[in-house]
Symmetry: C2
Subunit: 418 residues, 2 copies
């Protein structure tokens, strides 16, 4: 089986100026990798005739399929369409079907069709018209010079729809793509090298057709298993068997699989046990509540939060004892215990979570430098606490504290000791 | 004055697999554009000898300077260094100064130096060693084949430091770069096309050496003015004069300039007037508090928040009247007025902000479909409210509500009517 090679070409001055982030090329890379197409090259060029023509020529020499985004707006700056016609030596003509689509697109929105929009229904005669149901610039598919070409608008949701409804099916039909099964194991509470140490024997014993990649991000490490073979069912079984062997080694750090976020996982745990949670956030300032409530349906288990950003309000609004604050300070185990217990009671919740720390850049001392954070999880069984010693970066401290608090709740619900 | 052309080359299989986002190329594009260097091409290639050598050759034909990131790790996968040596036909030798730097890097962290780390101090003989104070892979500078070349590690903060301390000064010394002055005007509360309508005459009257770009993002539109000329002082004065003319047309939408975020701007307003704020967040679930507290020093003006995610807690914790909730519902002007007033009082703050809405995807009704949000800002002068009719996307609704609430406070502090 021959490897299918792809090139991704993004067109637009705004990309080279750094005015917008090219998320399209990243997404296309991920999707193609997932179906076993090898991305061999990505390029970005401006709205410039020689540069675009040169990029077409270079891509053709490297790839079986060239995926082009951008440069399809109706203004004169946008060159992709005329240059595709020039490169493939053909005319541009009105495509009645495309005109109907543009007309109905505007009619649905009650907007006037302009001259420029009508131009968008004119396409190179050598292309196959691919309807864009999300916008006005059609997709264009070419089979020229022993290469497949797809030109798409740069608007991400329009591009994605065209890829999903047209390009992926075409690729699967035309090429004998390898059978690949992916599974991502998501861990929290352990660094990449420590995790690697724990699972080394397992990793070394993986069969050669199952590859492992470590994908670390702030506070989390993802393990990505990719299995290559003949039959998807066999690969699925094999990967699941490997994961069964992995779990005894790394199980207490594993919070979920594939697209599950930590806040999703914690939400599912709460929901499955019919439990509720409330938060008293000091140094995290609402970040954890935001994570929890970003999940659709979180009102089933999230009761509410209090963010008492000063000692005075930790006392008055939340009910932390004045003596506790005076004797131990706001950033202390004693204070977070009272915060978690108080907010649990206030919102009549099964679990109460709390954070208090020095996020920085100011507010540090010798005893409690920037990055010192206390967190707590109160339940009917008592209060779990943890001291974190984080970084000197405010945003990273907020993020790491948030992840640690959610993980503390996960461990508590699962009755796992750290 | 000849235009200086740059190419950005990112190396690494993990980029082509879509495992990591290439933020380096975006940042370098922005920075080069800002100093008047024209980025003519960006490319991404994998850890593959022919692909990398071909990319070097193509870049050399297009650019005066080639900026390379990635492929400098100590493992055998990383090919950038040996291929630079091959491409420029030279040996790789130990650079004692680089070895000292790597040794002291490890000593400072109390870690053991490995064989692989010592290899990182071996460099192509034709390169100038550029110390990397943030990591172990040095920068390498070449002046070969009428082109300048800089190879840098892919770790963003290491790359940025090398660019700032070495590459930009080199570029400014070696080339007569155009004199450019940038200023970004940041607006909120108005869409791109409406803003364009309001400022059309001003835009049409801009002198030809001052360019305007509209840069929209969720809820915000940035106006970027770029002036080209001879003397930076004159350009600064000219751009400031243009902004003076712009403000009467768009002033009430302008919340700041350049790097100022909306939460920065609102924080500066509160701080300058010695005022404080508290929030009652329902549908935004902590997002606005998180925005406010992501700003360093926000404890000077942020007192705290209550997030009563259910009617019961709007009553019990915040003190909204039961009758109000029964008669008008949680998503109503009456409820957000009581929420904003109550939280203002609870936290003894000058301003009280509130949000209540249907973020979605569930919870909508004919009367109050998904995307219906009421917001309020209470002060000693009374309560300002606004009804928003947003989208069917939960995260976008949360973000747009957050921006609208911060903007409501900005308008209230500045005594601007919408």
């Amino acid at each position: 089986m021959r490897e299918v090679k792809a090139e991704i070409l993004a067109i637009g001055d705004e990309l080279l100026y750094g005015q917008i982030m090219d998320t399209n090329s990243l997404w296309i890379s991920q999707q193609l990798t997932d179906i076993g197409v090898r991305v061999v090259h990505r390029a970005t060029v401006g709205d410039n005739e020689p540069a675009i023509l040169e990029a077409f020529k270079a891509a053709q020499q490297r790839a079986d399929i060239v995926l082009i985004t951008g440069g399809l707006g109706p203004t004169r700056d946008d060159l992709t369409k005329p240059l595709l016609a020039k490169y493939f030596d053909c005319d541009i003509q009105l495509v009645p079907e495309a005109l109907e689509a543009v007309k109905s697109y505007f009619a649905r929105r009650g907007r006037e069709l302009t001259e420029l929009n009508i131009l968008q229904a004119h396409l190179p005669t050598k292309c196959t018209y691919v309807p864009n149901t999300m916008g006005t610039a059609p997709g264009m598919w070419f089979e020229e010079n022993d290469t497949l070409w797809m030109s798409m608008p740069g608007v991400p949701h329009e591009m994605k729809k065209l890829m999903e409804t047209f390009v992926f099916p075409q690729l699967k039909e035309r090429f004998s793509l390898p059978v690949i099964y992916h599974k991502v194991v998501k861990t929290v509470g352990i660094g990449e090298s420590w995790l690697a140490d724990k699972i080394r024997d397992w990793e070394d014993a993986l069969p050669s057709h199952i590859k492992l990649a470590y994908l670390p991000s702030i506070g989390l490490v993802r393990l990505r298993l990719t299995a290559f073979g003949e039959k998807i069912k066999e690969l699925t079984v094999e990967v699941e068997e490997q994961i069964e062997k992995l779990l005894p080694l790394a199980g207490k750090y594993v919070y979920g699989f594939d697209e599950t976020s930590l806040e999703d996982a914690v939400g599912q745990l709460l929901r499955s046990q019919n439990k509720t949670v409330a938060l008293a956030e000091s140094c995290t300032g609402g970040y954890i509540s935001h994570l929890i409530t970003s999940v659709a349906g979180s009102s089933a288990y999230f009761n509410g939060s209090i963010i008492p950003y000063h000692n005075q309000f930790k006392q008055q609004v939340l009910g932390v004892k004045k003596d506790t604050l005076i004797d131990h300070g706001a950033v202390s185990e004693e204070t977070v215990i009272e915060m978690a217990s108080a907010v649990r009671k206030t919102f009549g919740s099964d679990y109460g979570l709390a954070s208090s720390g020095v996020a920085g850049p100011g507010g540090g001392s010798d005893e409690k430098p920037v990055g010192t954070v206390w967190i707590a999880c109160a339940s009917e069984d008592g209060v779990r606490t943890k001291k974190l010693q984080l970084t000197d970066d405010r945003m990273i401290n907020i993020q790491l504290s948030g992840i640690s608090v959610l993980n503390l709740l996960r461990l508590e619900i699962n009755k796992i000791t750290e």
